[in-house]
């Protein structure tokens, strides 16, 4: 477990460093951030939000849980976070309640659990790039 903790700490450090770069970059993300700050997802995730999960699936550790307040997924993941081997998967809820992820963008599935499993199948053992790295461009 110690290696997991180490990795998490390292990732958190990376995310903070890159977040600064993202804020000054003239990108869609930077431009859209202001608008998203005031978003209200309370009517979006239904009663209590998606079911949490924590399991091994095809040799990968997948976790889904309520997003920590102030985290990227608190507003990007509609209040829910999904991790594959401790790396966060960018997810999004559609207006009809279905979900998609960055590795499975064009095929909505029922819930974050299905999205996490589909991502594991698509990844075929590959590692996710830390999410903030994606968003820094």
């Amino acid at each position: 477990m110690s290696s997991n903790i180490t990795r998490r700490v390292v990732l958190r450090g990376t995310a903070v460093a890159v977040a600064g770069a993202a804020l000054v970059a003239p990108t869609a993300m930077a431009a859209g951030r202001g608008a998203m700050t005031g978003m209200d997802h309370s009517g979006h995730t239904g009663h209590g939000g998606p079911q949490p999960f924590d399991e091994m699936y095809q040799g990968r550790h997948i976790v889904g849980k309520a997003a920590e307040p102030g985290s990227m997924s608190a507003h990007h993941g509609d209040g829910f976070s999904v991790f594959i081997d401790d790396r966060e998967l960018h997810i999004m809820q559609n207006g009809d309640g279905t979900w998609i992820s960055i590795v499975n963008h064009y095929l909505p599935l029922a819930d974050p659990h299905a999205i996490a499993r589909a991502a594991v199948e698509k990844l075929r053992g590959a590692e996710l790039v830390p999410m903030m790295m994606n968003m820094a461009h």
Partner: protein
């Protein structure tokens, strides 16, 4: 003025010139900028907040502008090149000529979905994946895997018959909306979306322009918009104005900030289609 042609009818020279121009953009680092821009919009375009490139009325003009910019970059390399379109209702098998060694290359191998043939195979050293959500450096495809289906001509015709460009709430929930049914969040065949899914690999992700098939797919979507405009000459872009979170007819679109949907309605200022 560029004439965009059906890829099925391209000569060997047309194919070679297109492929070489794409490879040169990759070599110069320009290509990956398009991949990153697309992904940034994929992540920020949301049903309940600002949306520009996807799940919104400007899906079609945004991609039209995106393709014009890409085509312009290709033409700086080779002025004879134009974007080809892929009619996936007709050339709808993994053995169609679009997937030939002389054009986009073939399906991925079963072990890791890696494309092994054609000019975009990793082994050529000319097509490394640099912008992605994971650490695989090679192009992947899984043509038609897991029962994925391409839209049929009948499904496309049903969408073309719709008379209203877009409807409230102007997102992935819009019913009776030509745009939303063409984009494929609603409707039989889930038209645009299901082509991304059918190809698989990077095409199924937010980094879909990593696969050059992206441009041929979106060129056909662009042509279908043009066909729809000709079929419904009195049906204009909607919404016309005053709509929160979406791009109205005369609002500017990010990331360019100097182009509106109104500017994109007549593509013949920029290029024409062969039919």
């Amino acid at each position: 003025m560029a004439v965009r042609k059906n890829q099925a009818g391209l000569s060997a020279t047309d194919k070679r010139n297109f492929v070489n121009a794409v490879l040169e953009l990759k070599k110069r680092g320009i290509y990956d900028g398009f991949v990153r821009t697309h992904e940034e919009f994929i992540m920020s375009d949301r049903d309940n907040s600002d949306r520009v490139g996807h799940r919104s009325p400007s899906f079609l003009p945004w991609h039209r502008r995106f393709l014009i910019q890409f085509e312009g970059e290709l033409q700086k390399i080779d002025a004879s090149v134009s974007l080809p379109y892929w009619d996936w209702t007709a050339d709808n098998t993994p053995t169609a000529s679009i997937w030939g060694d002389d054009f986009l290359g073939g399906n991925g191998r079963s072990r890791d979905a890696q494309v092994m043939t054609g000019p975009f195979a990793y082994s050529t050293g000319k097509w490394n994946i640099n912008a992605s959500s994971d650490n695989r450096p090679y192009l992947q495809r899984e043509l038609g895997a897991d029962g994925a289906q391409l839209p049929t001509r009948a499904q496309v015709d049903a969408v073309l018959a719709m008379t209203t460009y877009d409807t409230a709430p102007f997102n992935s929930l819009s019913e009776g909306s030509f745009r939303n049914y063409l984009e494929g969040w609603r409707g039989q065949g889930r038209v645009h979306n299901s082509v991304h899914v059918w190809i698989g690999g990077q095409m199924a992700t937010g980094y879909s322009p990593n696969d050059p098939a992206f441009w041929l797919h979106h060129c056909f979507i662009d042509k279908l918009w043009s066909d729809w405009q000709r079929m419904h000459p009195t049906s204009g872009y909607l919404p016309a104005g005053g709509t929160p979170n979406v791009v109205d007819l005369k609002d500017t679109m990010r990331p360019w900030n100097n182009v509106t949907p109104a500017d994109m309605l007549d593509h013949t200022k920029f290029y024409t289609y062969d039919r």
